[in-house]
């Protein structure tokens, strides 16, 4: 008898409590996860979000910080490399050092592609450079070709003729740079941006991939960095 009463009481209690709890936790609108993405774009020459320039082995003391395009070119004695840096402090709200960066992509809009499939490497730069003064002769990684070695690259993709990943012009080309951005956000490393070069700079034939620069004043083609993180 006592056991029957106890079971009955349990049943009544459960029936009364479950709906109340379900109502209390607002099941229909529970937010389970939250992300934020900061998109920095070099939309104009006046943009402070991006510093971008290319250096030219053929004009080793020239600076291209104000040109509207940037070249990555392989050609013995005429190599060209891109330098680019984004000001992460312009993200609003600021990305906290404790944030977890789940993805970061460097996007450049390609306007001309090589007639052969080329591998384009991205390297994290470890020293300072300036958009209006960087040249082939004073670039952070020095003037030796194929330096730094590909093994030190952050990321790579292939651009040019088939079977490249990117075979057409007028589209964004992306490199995954999550680890670099995470190290900058956390403070483990200092943000000096990236250098992009052809994976093999020793070439008897000109292999040119050209990208839109912030100085093109075109938001549809702006260099951009897309950072997704958990706040």
């Amino acid at each position: 008898m006592i056991r029957r009463l106890t079971l009955a009481l349990i049943g009544i209690t459960a029936a009364a409590v479950v709906p109340a709890l379900a109502s209390g936790v607002s099941v229909a609108s529970s937010t389970l996860d939250t992300y934020r993405t900061c998109v920095l774009s070099g939309v104009s020459a006046a943009s402070t979000a991006v510093a971008d320039a290319f250096v030219n082995q053929g004009s080793p003391n020239a600076n291209s910080g104000t040109t509207t395009s940037m070249d990555v070119q392989a050609r013995t004695g005429q190599n060209r490399r891109v330098h680019i840096r984004f000001d992460l402090t312009l993200c609003s709200p600021a990305v906290a050092s404790t944030a977890t960066v789940t993805d970061a992509q460097l996007d450049l809009f390609v306007t001309s592609i090589a007639t052969a499939c080329r591998t384009i490497d991205v390297f994290r730069v470890a020293t300072t450079w300036a958009e209006t003064t960087v040249t082939w002769n004073n670039q952070p990684f020095g003037t030796a070709v194929d330096n730094p070695p590909a093994a030190q690259r952050t990321a790579f993709t292939t651009i040019g003729a088939a079977p490249c990943t990117y075979t057409a012009t007028n589209q964004y080309v992306s490199w995954s740079v999550t680890a670099d951005v995470a190290s900058w956000v956390s403070g483990a490393a200092t943000n000096h941006g990236w250098m992009l070069r052809d994976d093999s700079e020793v070439s008897g034939t000109t292999r040119l991939n050209r990208f839109s620069a912030s100085e093109a004043n075109n938001a549809a083609r702006a260099p951009r960095l897309v950072i997704t993180y958990r706040p």
Binding site: A14, V25, L32, V226
Partner: protein
């Protein structure tokens, strides 16, 4: 005793994405442990949609809502398909691209 009776029933109802119970706690079990990637999709100089990728299969049937803030602000939402993967959230209105933009993304029931 009451909580002990109620929790299993409620957990069964909510599945793996349930909130924890007790003393107003708001602890949440995420459906995706390794995180998502988000990309803005342009039409000319405006953002018209957002691509979300890397969604775990455990997130299926949940709702993704994206709010893009740039020259203006606009939102959109969609249900995560079976198996997770990649989806596109179309914004209610196009948002002009500016130097620094923000995308707020939530995954909810």
């Amino acid at each position: 005793m009451t909580a002990a009776l109620a929790s299993p029933a409620l957990a069964a109802t909510l599945g793996s994405t349930s909130r924890s119970l007790g003393a107003g706690a708001a602890a949440v079990t995420r459906c995706d442990s390794d995180g998502l990637a988000t990309r803005p999709n342009l039409s000319g100089t405006t953002v018209v949609s957002v691509t979300v990728s890397g969604i775990a299969s455990e997130c299926e049937d949940l709702i993704v809502r994206a709010t893009v803030t740039g020259g203006t602000s606009s939102s959109g939402s969609t249900v995560i398909p079976s198996g997770g993967g990649t989806l596109t959230v179309t914004l209610a209105a196009a948002v002009g691209v500016v130097e620094s933009m923000r995308i707020d993304l939530t995954v909810s029931k």
